[in-house]
Amino acid sequence: MNDLNIMIVGVGGQGTLLASRILGNVAVMQGYDVKVSEVHGMSQRGGSVVTYVKMGDKVYSPIIEKNEADILLAFEKLEALRWIDYLKKGGTLVMNDQEINPMPVITGKAKYPEDITERLKNGGIDLQSIDALKIAEECGNIKAMNVVLIGLLAKSTGIEKKVWLKSIEGVIPAKLLEVNLKAFEAGYNSSLK
C-alpha cells in the first residue's frame, strides 16, 4: 500500500487518544505495519497535544514531520492552524469547528485569531470542517465528539466503512457503544460546511 500518515491535534482532554486507538486498530485490521505515538503526562493537562498515526508496509519513525501528513485531524481550530505545515501538499484537513481559548488569550496576553478558516481556505487547503460538538450532542453525548470526527475522516481514507465500525467496537466500552456508533454515522454522513 501507499503509506498513510494521519496526525491528530487538539487540546488535552478532548479525547484525541481514543481517536488514535481507533485509527491504530483500523490499520492492524487492514494488515498494515503501524505506529501510533501518543503524549501523556503534563502536556495532557489542557495543553496542545499531538498524536501521530503512521501505517504502511514498514514504518520506522513513529513521528510525522512537516509536509508529511496525508490527513491532519484537528479537534480545535487554533490547533489546526498551529500544525498546518505538517499537512503535506494536497493533503486533507479534517477540522472540528470549535474554539478553546489558550491561557495567554484568557489572560489577555494574546488574541485568538478570528480568521482561521479563511486563512486556511485562502491558503489552498482541502478543508473539511464540521461542528462535531453539536453533532455529538445531538447523538446524545458531547464526549462522542472524537468519534464524529473519525466518521468524517473515515471517508477521506478509502478504507471500507465496516472496518471502522469493527475497530470502534473493539475500542469503545459496551455501554457507550451505541451512542458512539451513532456519532460515527453522523460524522460519516455529515454535510460539510
Binding site: 505515538s37 503534563m42 520506522y60 513513529p62 513521528i63 498551529r82 491561557m103 484568557i106 486556511l120
Partner: protein
C-alpha cells in the same frame, strides 16, 4: 496472535511471559503504564511503592527470595533508587531482576533531561535499549535471562517515544518457572566491607564476561546496506536514522552497556563515513573515540532535546523540508493548564493574594508557576519544597519565613516530603507546609498511593492519616482547610505563617477528574456582570473574554463554582444540568 501495544504495555507483557512474580514502581511519566498494565495480571504481585528507592528494595528482596522481579521508574526516579542500585550490582541476584527506566528527551513531562545510560556504567550493570514495542517485550525476556546467567540486575532503558508509541507485538505464553530456592548466603547478600571487597572482584569478572557476550548477542546487529555511510545507533534514534538515511549500513545496538568493541571496529572498518546517532549525551561516541575510531556525532547533532528524521536530514544531509502552504500559522502558545474544577486553583488564588514566597514541588500544581496564578518560585525534585523552605528561612531569617510556604501533593509528601518535615521539627524551623490532599496521584493519571486507601489492584487498605503523621513527627499545629472556601483558607494560611513554630496545612478537596467527584451543573454569566474580570484572575480555562462580554464555555465548565465565589456582583449562576 498479534496486537497493537504501547511500548510500556509490551514491557508488562514481557514481564508476564518471563514469569515475573513481583513488580514494584513509583509512577512517573513516561514509565507509569508499565506497572498499570502489569497490575492486570493476577499471576503477578504488583504494588505502587512510596518511592523508587523502596520500590527497588522490594524488587531486590523478591529477587533474593528466588522470584523474578521487575521495578519501573522514570529517569529521575533512578536518582532516588541509585543507592540500592549501586549495591545490588555487588550482591547480584537469585531470581532475575530487571530495572525499567524511562528517559524523557525533550522533557515532555520532566524537570530535567538526564541520560540514564551513565547509570549503567557507573553502577556496572548491563543495559538494554529497545526501539519499538516488539523489542520492548523481547528485550525484557532476554534481560531476565542475562540477569540470571550473569548474576546481576539488568537495566532496560526506554525513551518517551518508545514507551508511548504503539506498534505491533506478537503475543506469547507465560513461561512456567518455579521459585528458586532461598539460600542464606551472607558472603553474597550482606554488603559489609569484608564481603563487599570480594564481591567487587566478582563484579569486574562479570563485566568482562558481559563484554564478550556483547560481541555475540543478537541484541547487537549489523544491517548491511550502502557502505558509503555507516550509522551506529540504538533505541528510537535507530528508527529516526532508518527513515533519514534509508539504505545505508547500520550497527543497531540493543545492548547499550557494555559495548562490543570488536563488533564496532569491524563495522567501522567496512564503511567510508561513520556517524553515531544518539539522543542526549555522546555516550557511545566517547567510547568509540576511545577505540581510536573516527566518527561524526555531536559536532553536528545536539545534546539537547529529541531527535527526528528531519533533524538528522537537516544537520547531516543538509536538506530541509519544504513549507507546503503559504499560510501565516503563527499561533498563541497553548501551555498546559490546571483543569476546570482543579482544587489547586483556589489555593493559588489565596497564595497570590497573600504575596507569599512559595517553594513548589513535582505534580499538577507545578503549573501554578504559570500565568495567571504565577505563585510558585521553585521546583527542583520530589519533596524538595519542604527542605528548600527550611533552607530559605535559615538563610534569610524568621521574618522571611513568615512570608514563605512550601506546597506539595499528598503522594509527593509520602514519596520524600516526610523526611524534610522531620528536618524542620528537629532543627527548630518554623516553616509552613501545605499538603495538597486531592485523594489521588494526579499528574501521572490517577494512581493510588498510601494516602488514598486503595492498592494498585483497587483493594481497600489502611490509609496513611496525614494529620496524625504530621503530629507524630512533632508538628503541633496541623490545620485542615478546603481550598474552595477561600476566605477560610486565607485566614488559616495567614495565621500559620505567623506562628513561630512549624505548621502543616492539609488542603483537602479531591481532584475534579475523579469519577466520584460530581459538581452540580455548569455555570453561566448573567446580566449582572460588570466586566470587572475578577473571575478571570483564577485562571480557569472555561472562562472566556469575548471582548464585549465574559462567557463560560459550557463544554469545559464542570460546575465547581469557584468563579462565583470571587464574583462580587452575583453575576455567575447555574446554567442547567451538566451535559454528560
Amino acid at each position: 496472535m498479534k496486537k497493537l501495544m504501547l511500548g510500556n504495555e509490551s514491557i508488562a507483557r514481557g514481564a508476564y511471559e518471563a514469569s515475573v512474580r513481583v513488580a514494584s514502581a513509583y509512577p512517573g511519566t513516561p514509565s507509569t503504564e508499565i506497572t498499570e498494565n502489569i497490575a492486570k495480571f493476577d499471576e503477578i504481585y504488583c504494588e505502587w511503592s512510596p518511592n523508587e528507592k523502596v520500590a527497588l528494595e522490594v524488587a531486590i528482596g523478591a529477587s533474593v527470595a528466588g522470584a523474578r522481579s521487575i521495578c519501573s521508574m522514570k529517569h529521575v526516579g533512578l536518582n532516588v533508587a541509585a543507592d540500592p542500585l549501586f549495591t545490588v550490582s555487588y550482591t547480584g541476584v537469585n531470581g532475575g531482576l530487571v530495572i525499567m527506566v524511562a528517559d524523557d528527551p525533550g522533557m515532555h513531562s520532566s524537570q530535567n533531561e538526564q541520560d540514564s545510560r551513565f547509570y549503567a556504567r557507573a553502577s556496572k550493570v548491563p543495559m538494554l535499549e529497545p526501539s519499538n514495542s516488539q523489542e520492548c517485550k523481547d528485550y525484557v525476556i532476554e534481560a531476565f535471562e542475562i540477569s540470571e546467567k550473569y548474576d546481576c540486575p539488568v537495566i532496560v532503558r526506554l525513551s518517551t517515544r518508545v514507551a508511548h508509541s504503539q506498534s505491533i507485538v506478537g503475543i506469547g505464553e507465560r513461561a512456567d518457572l518455579e521459585l528458586k530456592p532461598y539460600v542464606k548466603n551472607p558472603g553474597k547478600y550482606v554488603m559489609m566491607p569484608a564481603m563487599a571487597k570480594l564481591r567487587h572482584i566478582e563484579v569486574e569478572k562479570r563485566m568482562a564476561m558481559l563484554k564478550d557476550f556483547a560481541e555475540e548477542t543478537k541484541l547487537n546487529r549489523i544491517e548491511w546496506g550502502n557502505k558509503d555511510i555507516g550509522v551506529i545507533t540504538s533505541g528510537i534514534s535507530y528508527q529516526y536514522a532508518r527513515e533519514a538515511f534509508g539504505d545505508v549500513s547500520y550497527l543497531k545496538l540493543g545492548m547499550v552497556y557494555p559495548l562490543p568493541d570488536k563488533l564496532i571496529s569491524e563495522f567501522a572498518g567496512n564503511v567510508k563515513t561513520l556517524y553515531v546517532i544518539e539522543e542526549l549525551e555522546p555516550f557511545f561516541e566517547n567510547q568509540i573515540r576511545k577505540l581510536g575510531i573516527k566518527v561524526i556525532g555531536k559536532e553536528l547533532l545536539p545534546v539537547i532535546g529529541e531527535y527526528s528524521a528531519s533533524l538528522i536530514k537537516e544537520k547531516i544531509l543538509g536538506s530541509t523540508p519544504e513549507k507546503p502552504y503559504d499560510i501565516d500559522s503563527k499561533s498563541p502558545m497553548r501551555p498546559p493548564v490546571m483543569c476546570p474544577g482543579c482544587p489547586h486553583r483556589g489555593m493559588f488564588h489565596v497564595l497570590k493574594k497573600l504575596k507569599l514566597n512559595v517553594t513548589g514541588d513535582i505534580g499538577c500544581y507545578t503549573l501554578g508557576a504559570l500565568s495567571p496564578t504565577e505563585s510558585i518560585d521553585t521546583c527542583v525534585c520530589m519533596g524538595a519544597s519542604i527542605g528548600m523552605a527550611h533552607g530559605m528561612e535559615k538563610a534569610r531569617g524568621r521574618e522571611f519565613g513568615r512570608k514563605t510556604v512550601a506546597i506539595l501533593g499528598d503522594s509527593t509528601f509520602i514519596h520524600s516530603g516526610i523526611t524534610g518535615l522531620i528536618d524542620i521539627v528537629y532543627n527548630k524551623g518554623c516553616s509552613t507546609v501545605i499538603i495538597l490532599d486531592n485523594s489521588i496521584t494526579g499528574m501521572t493519571g490517577h494512581q493510588q498511593n498510601p494516602t488514598t486507601g486503595f492498592t494498585i489492584k483497587g483493594e481497600p487498605t489502611r490509609q496513611v492519616n496525614l494529620e496524625l503523621l504530621a503530629r507524630a513527627v512533632g508538628i503541633d499545629r496541623v490545620r485542615i482547610a478546603d481550598p474552595f472556601n477561600m476566605k477560610e483558607f486565607e485566614k488559616v494560611v495567614a495565621e500559620e505563617v505567623q506562628a513561630d513554630e512549624p505548621s502543616v496545612i492539609i488542603s483537602q478537596r479531591p481532584c475534579a477528574l475523579l469519577k466520584n467527584v460530581r459538581y452540580e451543573g455548569t455555570q453561566r454569566i448573567n446580566e449582572n456582570c460588570r466586566k470587572c474580570r475578577s473571575c478571570m484572575k483564577i485562571g480557569c480555562p472555561a472562562i472566556v473574554d469575548k471582548g464585549d462580554r465574559i462567557e463560560i464555555n459550557s463544554a469545559l465548565c464542570v460546575g465547581c463554582k469557584l468563579c462565583s465565589t470571587v464574583c462580587s456582583f452575583n453575576a455567575i449562576e447555574k446554567a442547567g444540568e451538566h451535559n454528560e
